[in-house]
C-alpha cells in the first residue's frame, strides 16, 4: 500500500514536467502578450519595449522556460505579472472558495444523484425512472449561466429568500482562519456567519451540482441494473432477504466502484474551478481567476494555476483509487 502510494507520487514528476511544458508553449503561442494587453491603445513601440523588458519577455523562450522551471522544486511558482503577488499566495486566497463550493455541490449531487439512480434502477421503466432520467438529461445539457441567472432571479429578486451572490453579506464579520467560511464560523462559534455563509452557498452549489448530479444518477442506475441481474442477487432474494437489504447491502456495495470513480472524477473537475458558476455568482474562486489571467496573458498565473489543478486532480484520483480497496477487498495494491 505504502509502496503503491510512493509509486503514484513519483509518477507525478513526469506529469508535472509535461504539463508545465505544454502549458508554457501553448500560452506563448497565443498572439498578443501581457504588455500589449496592459497598454491597449497606449501601446506605442517605446512603451511596449520598456514594459516587455521589465517583464522579462524579451529573453528567448528557453531562457524564460528555464527561469520558471528551475524555481519550481523550491515551491516558487513565480509572481503574477499583473498584480506582482506570488502566484501561490494568489491561488491560496482563491482555492478555499473553490473547495467549499465544490464540496457543497458534491454533497447535493451525491445525496440526490445516488438515491435517484438506485430508485430508478429498482423500478426500471417506471414513470419515476423515465422522469428522473429525463431530468438527468436536462441537467447535463442545461446552460449553467442561464440556470444561475434564473435561480438568482427567482430566489433573490422575486422571493427574496436567499442572497443573490458572493460568500458573505456585507456587515457580517468573520475572522479568516482556513478561508473556508462554513468551517471558520463553526470553529469560532459565529452562528450568524455560519447561517449567512450557508445561505450564500445554496444557490451556486445547486447550480453547480446539476451536471455531476445527472452524471452520478445515470451511472448509479446503469451500474445497479447490471448488478441486479447477477445470480447472487437472485440467490439473496431466494434466501428470503428483504428487498431493502438486498438492494443496499448486496447490490449497492457491488455497484459502488464505478459510482465512486465518477464521483471522484467529477469532484476533481469541480476543484479546477467552475468558471461560469463563479462568474454568475461572483464567487471568488480559482476558475474565474484563471480565465482572467488567460485574457490578460498573465503567464506565471496561468502556468501555476493549471499546474496546481493538475496536481490536485492526480491526488483526488489517488484517493479514489485507494478507496476501492475499502469497498472491494478483492482489490490489491502493489
Amino acid at each position: 500500500m505504502v509502496n503503491y502510494i510512493i509509486k503514484r507520487l513519483l509518477a507525478l514528476i513526469p506529469i508535472i514536467i509535461g504539463v508545465v511544458l505544454i502549458v508554457f508553449l501553448m500560452i506563448h503561442l497565443i498572439p498578443g502578450d501581457p504588455a500589449q494587453v496592459m497598454l491597449g491603445e497606449r501601446g506605442t513601440e517605446e512603451a511596449l519595449a520598456a514594459l516587455r523588458e521589465s517583464m522579462g519577455l524579451n529573453d528567448p523562450l528557453y531562457v524564460q522556460f528555464w527561469r520558471y522551471i528551475s524555481k519550481l522544486p523550491r515551491g516558487d511558482f513565480g509572481r503574477s505579472i499583473i498584480s506582482n503577488n506570488p502566484v501561490l499566495l494568489e491561488i491560496s486566497h482563491r482555492f478555499p472558495a473553490t473547495i467549499e463550493l465544490s464540496v457543497f455541490a458534491m454533497i447535493f449531487a451525491v445525496l440526490i444523484g445516488i438515491p435517484a439512480g438506485i430508485f430508478a434502477s429498482i423500478h426500471q421503466n417506471s414513470w419515476f425512472d423515465n422522469l428522473s432520467m429525463s431530468f438527468a438529461l436536462i441537467g447535463v445539457s442545461m446552460p449553467i449561466f442561464w440556470l444561475g441567472l434564473m435561480l438568482i432571479w427567482l430566489f433573490a429578486v422575486v422571493l427574496g429568500w436567499l442572497p443573490p451572490s458572493s460568500r458573505l453579506s456585507v456587515g457580517i464579520e468573520l475572522n479568516n482562519i482556513t478561508n473556508l467560511y462554513v468551517l471558520d464560523s463553526l470553529i469560532q462559534g459565529n452562528w450568524p456567519a455560519l447561517w449567512d455563509s450557508f445561505k450564500h452557498l445554496l444557490l451556486p452549489s445547486a447550480a453547480l451540482a446539476t451536471i455531476p448530479m445527472a452524471i452520478i444518477a445515470r451511472m448509479t442506475r446503469s451500474s445497479m441494473l447490471e448488478v441486479l441481474r447477477q445470480d447472487y442477487i437472485r440467490t439473496a432474494y431466494a434466501k428470503g432477504l428483504s428487498g431493502r437489504i438486498v438492494v443496499y447491502k448486496h447490490a449497492l456495495k457491488n455497484a459502488l466502484v464505478p459510482i465512486i470513480t465518477v464521483v471522484g472524477l467529477q469532484f476533481g473537475v469541480l476543484l479546477g474551478g467552475a468558471i461560469l458558476t463563479e462568474t454568475i455568482f461572483s464567487w471568488p474562486g480559482l476558475g474565474r481567476y484563471l480565465v482572467n489571467a488567460i485574457y490578460a496573458r498573465d503567464y506565471p498565473v496561468v502556468q501555476g494555476g493549471i499546474l496546481f489543478f493538475s496536481i490536485t486532480f492526480v491526488f483526488v484520483n489517488l484517493i479514489v483509487d485507494l478507496s476501492y480497496g475499502s469497498i472491494d477487498p478483492r482489490i490489491q495494491y502493489d
Binding site: 498572439p31 498578443g32 502578450d33 500589449q36 494587453v37 496592459m38 497598454l39 491597449g40 491603445e41 497606449r42 501601446g43 506605442t44 513601440e45 512603451a47 520598456a50 514594459l51 521589465s54 499583473i82 498584480s83 506582482n84 503577488n85 494568489e90 486566497h93 482563491r94 449561466f145 444561475g148 441567472l149 438568482i152 432571479w153 433573490a156 429578486v157 427574496g160 442572497p163 443573490p164 451572490s165 458572493s166 460568500r167 453579506s169 456585507v170 456587515g171 462568474t279 454568475i280 455568482f281 461572483s282 471568488p284 474562486g285 474565474r288 481567476y289 482572467n292
Partner: protein, 521 residues
C-alpha cells in the same frame, strides 16, 4: 391688513420651513455604500496600476496635489490650496494646505510630496520598486522625464523645476495615478505596499478580500470635511446581468456597466436611477492616407457625408452616446462647438465621389476590433452599418478583423487602410486627444498638416490658458476640413443607482470621490 401680515408671516414660515427641510435633506451622515463593479482591483498603489477598477478605489484613499472639479476636468485645489508658475513655464510652486495628515498620522508636507515624486521619477530611488510606474513615464515622458527637480522650499511649499514647459502639467498632477502616499507606509511594506495603501483621502483602507470586496471607512479628519458615509464597500460582481439583479434585490446600492438591453427597465423602475457619465472618449473611423484613394480629401469628406451617426447611436449604444463632430469630447475645455458637422446627405456624398473621379465607387478593406471598447460597445455591428451606408453611394467595404493584440500591432505598423478605433482621455487636456491622435508625428492614419503641427506644438509650450483655447479651436477647424476620420460617437457610460443614493456626481475621467455622497434611507 392684519390678514395680509399674517399671510406674509405664513408664507415666510413656509419658506423658512422648506429651507430648513432642504438643509436637513442636504446630506445625512451614516450608512454603508455598496458599489458593484465588474472586476477586482489589481493593486492599491495608484502609480503602479493602469486599470480603472484599481483607480476607482485609490481615488477614495488618496489625494492629489490638484484635483478636478466634480463632473468636469477643470483643475481645482487639492492638497495644494494655491499655486503659481514662472513666465517661462519651467518653475511651478505649490502652497500646501496646512495640518493635513495621512491615515497613519504622519503629516502631508512638502517633504512627503517630494519623496513621492522622487520615488516615481528616479530609477535608482530605493523604493522605485514593485512595478513599472507606467503612468509616470507616460505623462512626464520617461524617468525622470521632464521633471528635473522637486524641492521642498519650506514645510508647506513645494517647487517643481521642469526641463521644458508642459502645458498639461497641472492637469496631469490631478490624475488619480499621482495620488500621494505616506512615505512611512511605503517604506514599511516595500513591494507589498499595494496591499496596504495609506493616503490622506476621504476614506481609509480596511480590508481586501480578493475577487470579492474591498472595504473602506470614513476618514473622520478629512480636510474636505468628514464624509457622509461611514463605510464604502466595492464588490466584484463579474456578470453584468447578475450585478443588475443584485441592484434590484437591494444588496448593492450602485453599479456600473449595465447591459444596453437592461437600460429600458431601469427607466421604468421608480426605485432606480440612471446616471450618465459625461463622455470622455471618442470612437472614430479612420481612413489611412497612404492607401489611395484615401489620400484624396474629397473621398474622405464623401464618407463623412455618407454615414448616419444618429442612427448608429440609436441602434448600437442604446442611445447612450452623442454623435461626434470633433476628435475632442464636448466635456473638455477647448471643444469647438462652432464647427458644423458634415450632414448626412447621400447626394452630396455621391457628388464628391464623382468629383474625385470615382463616380462608380470602389472597393476597400474596413477593419474593426474584435472586442467591445467603451467608445464602441458593439464594433462589429457598427462596422456592418458603415458597410451598408457606404454601399448606398456605390462603395464596397470588405469587413476584416483579427484578435485585439494583433489588431493593435497592425495599427501601429500602418497596415490598416481604414479602421475603427477610439481613445479615452487621461488628464482632461485637449493635447491628450489632439496631439496624441492627430499630430503628424504621432498619428497612424498617414495624415500630415504642417500648420496643424505648428499649432499643436505651440499649444504644448503655451502656459496662457486663453491662448491655448484659441489654438485648439483653430486646430479643430483644420482637422474638420482635412477630414482624416469620420468621428462617430462620444459614449456616455451609464451607472445605475438606487434612488436613495444622493449627490453622486460622475466625473468624465471615470473616477470620483464619494465623500459628498449620502444615503437617504
Amino acid at each position: 391688513m392684519k390678514w395680509r401680515s399674517l399671510s406674509v408671516l405664513l408664507v415666510l414660515a413656509l419658506v423658512l420651513g422648506a429651507f430648513s427641510l432642504s438643509a436637513f435633506a442636504e446630506g445625512k451622515y451614516g450608512g454603508t455604500f455598496i458599489f458593484g463593479r465588474g472586476g477586482d482591483s489589481v493593486g492599491l498603489d495608484p502609480i503602479q496600476v493602469t486599470d480603472g477598477e484599481s483607480f476607482k478605489v485609490t481615488q477614495q484613499i488618496y489625494d492629489t496635489i490638484v484635483q478636478y472639479k466634480p463632473g468636469t476636468t477643470e483643475v481645482i485645489p487639492g492638497l495644494a490650496k494655491e499655486w503659481e508658475v514662472s513666465d517661462d513655464g519651467l518653475r511651478w510652486t505649490f502652497y500646501l494646505r496646512e495640518g493635513v495628515k495621512f491615515h497613519d498620522g504622519n503629516p502631508v508636507n512638502a517633504e512627503a510630496i517630494k519623496w513621492n515624486f522622487d520615488r516615481w521619477r528616479l530609477v535608482d530611488h530605493p523604493y522605485h520598486i514593485g512595478g513599472d510606474f507606467t503612468y509616470y513615464s507616460y505623462m512626464f515622458q520617461g524617468f525622470p522625464g521632464i521633471i528635473k527637480e522637486v524641492n521642498a522650499v519650506d514645510e508647506y511649499t513645494v517647487e517643481f523645476v521642469l526641463t521644458e514647459p508642459q502645458a498639461p502639467f497641472l492637469n496631469n498632477l490631478g490624475m488619480v495615478s499621482f495620488g500621494i502616499a505616506s512615505p512611512a507606509a511605503v517604506k514599511k511594506w516595500g513591494e507589498d505596499y499595494f496591499k496596504h495603501p495609506v493616503g490622506s483621502g476621504p476614506f481609509k483602507f480596511v480590508e481586501w478580500k480578493k475577487d470579492d470586496r474591498i472595504v473602506l471607512e470614513a476618514n473622520e479628519d478629512y480636510w474636505g470635511g468628514r464624509p457622509y458615509l461611514d463605510k464604502v464597500v466595492f464588490r466584484s460582481i463579474p456578470d453584468n446581468g447578475a450585478r443588475y439583479m443584485e441592484l434590484q434585490a437591494g444588496t448593492i446600492d450602485m453599479m456600473d456597466y449595465i447591459n444596453p438591453e437592461d437600460v429600458a427597465s431601469v427607466k421604468e423602475n421608480p426605485e432606480l436611477d440612471l446616471v450618465l457619465r459625461p463622455s470622455f472618449n471618442v470612437g472614430y473611423f479612420a481612413m489611412h492616407q497612404n492607401f489611395p484613394p484615401f489620400d484624396n480629401v474629397l473621398i474622405r469628406r464623401a464618407f463623412n457625408h455618407a454615414i448616419n451617426k444618429e442612427n448608429l447611436i440609436g441602434a448600437f449604444y442604446a442611445g447612450l452616446a452623442q454623435p461626434a463632430k470633433n476628435p475632442l469630447p464636448p466635456s473638455l475645455w477647448g471643444y469647438n462647438d462652432e464647427i458644423k458637422d458634415y450632414e448626412y446627405d447621400l447626394e452630396k456624398a455621391k457628388e464628391l465621389l464623382a468629383k474625385a473621379g470615382y463616380p462608380d465607387g470602389f472597393e476597400f478593406d474596413l477593419w474593426y476590433m474584435p472586442v467591445p471598447r467603451p467608445y464602441f460597445p458593439q464594433p462589429k455591428l457598427v462596422a456592418q452599418a458603415i458597410q451598408y451606408y457606404l454601399s448606398q453611394i456605390g462603395v464596397k467595404a470588405n469587413l476584416k478583423t483579427v484578435d485585439w493584440g494583433t489588431y493593435l500591432d497592425k495599427y501601429y505598423a500602418d497596415e490598416l487602410p481604414t479602421y475603427l478605433l477610439g481613445w479615452t482621455g487621461d488628464n482632461g487636456d485637449p493635447d491628450n486627444f489632439l496631439y496624441v491622435l492627430l499630430d503628424q508625428t504621432q498619428n497612424n492614419c498617414g495624415y500630415k498638416n504642417d500648420e496643424l503641427h505648428e499649432i499643436l506644438l505651440e499649444a504644448q509650450r503655451t502656459v496662457d490658458h486663453e491662448r491655448r483655447v484659441e489654438l485648439y479651436m483653430k486646430a479643430q477647424e483644420i482637422i474638420h476640413n482635412d477630414a482624416p476620420w469620420v468621428p462617430i460617437a462620444h459614449s456616455t457610460p451609464p451607472l445605475v443607482k438606487r434612488s436613495y443614493v444622493k449627490n453622486y456626481i460622475p466625473n468624465p475621467t471615470s473616477t470620483e470621490k464619494f465623500h459628498r455622497v449620502w444615503l437617504d434611507k
